[in-house]
């Protein structure tokens, strides 16, 4: 058993724990990330599917920025020795509490000692598991997120880990300034979130309409893009190709970036781009011409030209390898 250090001095009310039974493929602690340090080379990190994080927290009465578990494809399982209130959002997966199947996207009471199991994702990739009170590991630079690129934050979960939980309803210091959604607000927002998008509609740029039921994960993923800042480094044909052809999500994708396979994008300007700051959703094109879309754990600077920027990467958090992606643009 490995106890992860708590956020405050011993005896400040952090008593409950989450006991990891099955850590799964890659289960990490995530919150809203650690913005504000990019100039020091610190990635933003944070949940890949932010709407799902916020919804899970809202369902259990946590501040939107409370830390949750983010699973990858294989789910996870844990016990709550003290019991508690849990909600699972994100990928479609079977969820059981003390052996009883329960719905996703609702708050569920876990009895003391109860086992919570999130099964393999049947659609989408990442589930978000909020426990009332939030995961109370020590914040690092204002965030409890695991950054898989730099190693900042708590390590990925391992079987037998004990994670401290915060007090339900108490203010979360790391989430100061975030709205605490009341139960009524939560249910209203949750219902609205589950409205399906019309077929073929571009991915919404707001929280609503993503990561709801399984049907949202089916079909072609349409990513809204704006060209630039380095589209001039590519041939006009390459820009046209990016905007008109389908790409496939590569199995090499991770929290750093979604790697795409498809038509190579040819450069009009040879040579190295001087290193410059990059943003979430940047479509970077390395030497092989295959685009890579930066996700939460992306490096803060890069030397490959960014042909376009995806303005909402939420759908990529749930994009399985082999999924088809199209870019919707070009807004300049």
């Amino acid at each position: 058993m490995t106890a992860v250090p708590t956020g405050g001095p011993a005896g400040d009310g952090v008593t409950a724990v989450l006991a990891v039974v099955r850590a799964g493929a890659l289960t990490t602690v995530q919150d809203l990330g650690r913005p504000g340090y990019a100039h020091l080379g610190v990635p933003r990190s944070g949940a890949l599917d932010l709407p799902a994080l916020r919804r899970a927290n809202g369902l259990v009465g946590n501040p939107a920025g409370a830390a949750v578990l983010e699973t990858t494809l294989m789910g996870c399982a844990f016990r709550l020795p003290e019991g508690g209130l849990v909600a699972v959002t994100g990928a479609a997966a079977e969820v059981t509490v003390a052996g009883v199947p329960v719905s996703r996207d609702v708050a569920v009471n876990v009895p003391p000692g109860g086992l919570v199991e999130i099964g393999r994702a049947t659609a989408g990739v990442r589930s978000y598991v909020a426990v009332a009170g939030g995961i109370a590991v020590a914040p690092v630079l204002g965030s409890r997120s695991t950054d898989t690129l730099s190693g900042l934050g708590p390590p990925r979960l391992r079987n037998g880990d004990l994670l401290p939980l915060g007090q339900p309803g108490s203010a979360d210091p790391a989430a100061a300034g975030e709205d605490v959604a009341g139960p009524d607000v939560t249910w209203a927002a949750s219902a609205a979130d589950r409205l399906p998008s019309p077929p073929g509609a571009p991915v919404a740029e707001t929280d609503a309409g993503s990561s709801g039921p399984a049907s949202d994960f089916d079909g072609v993923i349409v990513l809204p893009v704006r060209l630039g800042p380095r589209d001039a480094w590519f041939t006009p044909e390459a820009v046209e190709t990016l905007l008109t052809t389908a790409y496939t999500i590569s199995p090499n994708s991770n929290r750093v970036g979604a790697r795409l396979a498809g038509a190579a994008l040819a450069r009009a300007v040879a040579g190295e781009l001087p290193s410059e700051g990059v943003v979430l959703g940047a479509v970077q094109v390395p030497a092989d011409g295959q685009p890579l879309i930066f996700l939460a754990d992306h490096p803060t600077t890069g030397g490959y030209p960014v042909i376009a920027v995806v303005t909402d990467v939420t759908a990529l958090a749930q994009a399985r390898p082999g999924s088809t992606v199209r870019f919707h643009g070009p807004q300049r």
Binding site: L40, G41, L152, V279, V310, R332
Partner: protein, 199 residues
Amino acid sequence: MRIHPVGATALLLECPPAEVEAWRAELWRRRAAGDLTATEIVPGERTVLLDGVATPAEVIAGWAPPPPASDVSVEIISIPIVYDGPDLPTIAALWSMPVPAVISLLTDTEFHVAFCGFSPGFGYLTGLPASRAVPRLASPRTSVPAGSVGLAGRYAGIYPTASPGGWQLVGRTDVALFDVDRDPPALLTPGTVVRLVAA
């Protein structure tokens, strides 16, 4: 200075490399003064990225160019280095001078943190003349110890943590480059003046 939009919420200011630090400092000052709203101000080799920016590009474009960055009254950070890196002979051959002369050249150079990246606390240090640019290793090392001092292109840098790396290693230091319990967590922040003194 030219401004490129980046997605829906960021701007990339492009300027000659010699003006990057002046613009970075100016944007920092304006943010502190409340003239600029931005989550991140990230310098690069010839750019400054403003991410999470709410100030319109037209407003920023109207700002007068800042005065050149000045070293006057800037604190100089001296980092003690043990110059025993495995690539010193390679550098000596590239620069056509004996190893002690390489070390002297490095210890006599006033470096500036131009920008950070690669990993938390890794500063790209400028100050070497263009004629001293060195290639990266043809095959990167799978593990470079924390505190290793390397050269690549016209930059020097110190690995804050152990990682794979392709820079030519000239020495090492015990100084902590990145400490999450320090404010700021990075020892080398953009604009800092650095000397790599012999330990």
